[in-house]
């Protein structure tokens, strides 16, 4: 088992290295095909035509740096059944390639490859045999190579591709469930559904068994409050940022105009080699059902980018480094206590490994980590977000950052939802675990790195996914769902959860979100252990005043009793 995993890891590493090499060439405007083009322009013409059976497809989403879109990089493994046209050097080292041999096809096109596993395909491309990387020899099919293609000649047996757990809908009648929904070629949607105590929780994440899974999750909660107000609130992790907390306030203060802001880099997480879901479980704790689930992305690759492009070695680029994060996991615990529901999310960020800087001064020493979240809020009545008791809207906020430890969503005087932050987080250095206080802040849209905005386009539309749910879940707002997306610029509340001490080590943190199922103007009764919710200032003042009154009474009584007890009750003489 371990050997298989090691082999798989090695294969992934090899494929990534080859793809990285190709992408690096592209990034600096040098394509491997073009590089040979300079030597001999005739090489642009495809020189290899084969037929074969698709044995495997390994695909990867890669952000094309400095561009808005993703590129699909794929490696298709084909077992040759017929070589129709072959170049002279069509061989692995000394061994000539023939029928029955496996050959790789590197596919770097803007559209998805149409073929699937077991399909019979015809490949017309250019045989690339870099002298220093013999294992990466592939038939290259690329938009840049004229008339190259991968064409499906006959479809193979697809029955194995349908996972046993795959379905097209979510059983909304069930109390809780997990499942996968096919969502396009090679991509599935893994969901967790909870329908308990009149509230529904839906968690989505993309994954793929053939792609490196994209890192994208969404957690939403739907419920009805009194007066038939329907509420849907969700959030998603948009961006990870590394910042220098020079002013010591714990949160990143941006200034992208002058470039003197605290955000040093931001991460563009690309994809993950491993996707491990933890199905939802129901556990009874003190007669209250707790639902727990989670997902873990292993070996996450991504880019460390400057907030604004810089001139490095004569090339203007935002790329600071290529990095890997050992894992990224999200765990959730949901329960309803009285009329209040609690969603406790656990975030684990693995340590940075394989740090490949593209400039000498790139370093994560002394920097903090900030996780930028966007929210989606839909209600059937006008709502307001309050931060530190004041109305707040990220779209129009004047201050770039507003430090806070909680944010509330109100309709009129009724509190519908509460974000509670600022618990301690654990930092895992090699020397051991350390505990620090996290910080949080509401952020203006303008406080998001301008180049990062290119990568935060509404790539993932939540609305279309939520429509998978039957309309009877969303009684009144189903008409609004098609317009629902995760575009951060439409978010009225963008917030950051910040870890001022980080240095690239792994960390773990548990923020809490609270929803109010009925209108409430008072704090929830009996908050869960660990919540920082305390008495209000008015309550503390009332306690102090009552205490002073009691103390005055006690002193009066003390004096009175002393006078009474001066006389012996039996003799009535002074003692």
């Amino acid at each position: 088992m371990g050997t298989t995993k090691t082999r798989k890891t090695c294969l992934y590493a090899l494929l990534t290295a080859s793809l990285l090499l190709a992408s690096s060439f592209s990034m600096f405007g040098v394509d491997s095909a073009h590089s040979q083009l300079d030597e001999n322009s005739e090489l642009l013409v495809p020189d290899t035509l084969i037929r074969g059976i698709v044995k495997g497809i390994h695909l990867n989403y890669e952000n094309i740096l400095n561009k808005v879109t993703y590129r699909l990089a794929a490696l298709i493994t084909i077992q040759i059944t017929e070589i129709i046209e072959r170049p002279e050097n069509f061989c692995y080292g000394e061994k000539s390639i023939g029928d029955g041999d496996l050959v790789g096809v590197s596919y770097n096109c803007s559209s998805y490859p149409e073929c699937g596993v077991n399909d019979i395909v015809e490949v017309y491309g250019f045989w690339v045999a870099p002298p220093n990387l013999p294992a990466s020899r592939t038939i290259r099919v690329d938009d840049a190579i004229i008339a190259s293609y991968v064409k499906t000649v006959a479809e193979g047996d697809k029955s194995h591709e349908e996972g046993e757990g795959n379905s097209s809908t979510i059983d909304t009648q069930s109390e809780y469930s997990n499942g996968s929904i096919s969502h396009g070629l090679g991509v599935n949607l893994w969901y967790t559904w909870i329908n308990a105590s009149g509230t529904q929780v839906i968690f989505f994440t993309y994954y793929s068994e053939v792609y490196n899974s994209p890192i994208q999750t969404f957690l939403g909660q739907h419920y009805q409050t009194v007066n038939e107000t329907e509420v849907f609130i969700g959030n998603t992790l948009l961006l990870m940022e590394a910042y220098n907390d020079t002013n010591g306030d714990g949160v990143p203060d941006a200034d992208f105009e002058t470039g003197t802001g605290e955000i040093k880099y931001f991460f563009l997480v690309n994809s993950s080699f491993g996707f491990i879901p933890t199905p939802v479980q129901k556990v009874m704790i003190e007669d209250i059902p707790h639902y727990t689930w989670g997902v873990e992305y292993d070996w996450v690759d991504g880019f460390l980018l400057y907030p604004k492009s810089k001139l490095i070695s004569g090339v203007e680029t935002t790329l600071a480094a290529r990095v890997y994060i050992t894992h990224l996991s999200f765990t959730y615990e949901y329960y309803v206590q009285g009329n209040v529901s609690y969603t406790k999310t656990g975030v684990k960020v693995g340590k940075i490994v394989d740090f490949e800087p593209y400039a000498l001064d790139v370093s994560l020493d002394g920097v903090g980590l900030s996780l930028l979240y966007g929210t989606v809020m839909l209600t059937t009545k006008t709502y307001a977000v309050l931060v530190n008791g004041e109305p707040y809207n990220s779209k129009v906020a004047e201050a770039p950052t507003t430090s806070t430890n909680r944010a509330e969503v109100f309709i009129g005087d009724a509190k519908l939802y509460e974000f509670i932050f600022e618990e301690n987080y654990t930092l895992y250095r090699d020397s051991g675990a350390e505990s620090y206080r996290s910080k949080s802040a509401a952020s203006a849209i303008e406080n998001i790195p301008p180049d990062a905005a290119n990568y935060l386009s509404p790539y993932w539309l939540v609305g279309s996914l939520l429509r998978i749910l039957s309309e009877d879940v969303f009684l009144n707002m189903s008409a609004s769902l098609p317009n629902l997306d995760l575009e951060y610029a439409n978010s009225s509340f963008v917030y950051r959860v910040c870890y001022p001490t980080w240095d690239g080590w792994g960390l773990e943190h548990d923020p809490t979100y609270v929803a109010y199922l009925v209108e409430s103007v008072a704090p929830p009764i009996g908050p869960p252990i660990g919540l920082p919710a305390g008495p209000s200032i008015e309550a503390i003042a009332a306690v102090a005043v009552a205490g002073l009154f009691a103390l005055t009474l006690a002193l009066i009584e003390l004096r009175k009793t002393r006078r009474i007890l001066k006389i012996n009750p039996l003799t009535m003489h002074l003692r």
Partner: protein, 152 residues
């Protein structure tokens, strides 16, 4: 010129020693009545005549009345002296400070149990007058209880 002594002051000056003990006993009985022999046995008097003497003295002071069967019961409650520090309910007697002490203690404990997860210095400072008051009330309760009239 000697100060004029009111009836109440005269009553209080007479209400002492064994007279007070008998009155205390009858107060504990509440609306119930007691006979001479019962008082004698309960308070350990040497003879019924001693008990009778104290009861008659109380009757003359207007604090007890005698019913047709010859038993005595409290007709007027004097809220003065050590008696004022006690509450008599259904045959039970306890210091009135016990009510204050219990009330303040329950309030403080309830508040602490509700917000134990958010205890802070501000909260402790706010609670400190109440805690001090509770301590004083408990001290008073014990002190008064130890001084309640009882036969030697």
């Amino acid at each position: 010129m000697a100060p004029k002594i009111t009836d109440e002051e005269r009553t209080l000056s007479e209400l002492r020693g064994n007279t007070l003990l008998v009155y205390w006993y009858l107060l504990k009985k509440g609306r119930g009545s007691s006979g001479v022999r019962e008082v004698q046995r309960a308070l350990g008097f040497s003879s019924p005549s001693s008990a009778c003497y104290q009861l008659e003295k109380l009757r003359e002071l207007g604090l007890v009345s005698k019913n047709p069967t010859g038993d005595y019961q409290v007709s007027r409650v004097v809220k003065a002296g050590v008696i004022s520090a006690f509450i008599f309910i259904g045959g039970y007697v306890f210091p009135k400070h016990l009510v204050y002490a219990s009330a303040t203690s329950i309030m403080i404990l309830l508040f602490i149990s509700l917000f134990i997860h958010a205890l802070s210095l501000v909260l402790v400072v706010a609670l400190s007058p109440g805690i001090l008051a509770a301590i004083i009330f408990w001290y008073e309760t014990l002190k008064v209880w130890r001084h309640k009239p009882s036969p030697r």
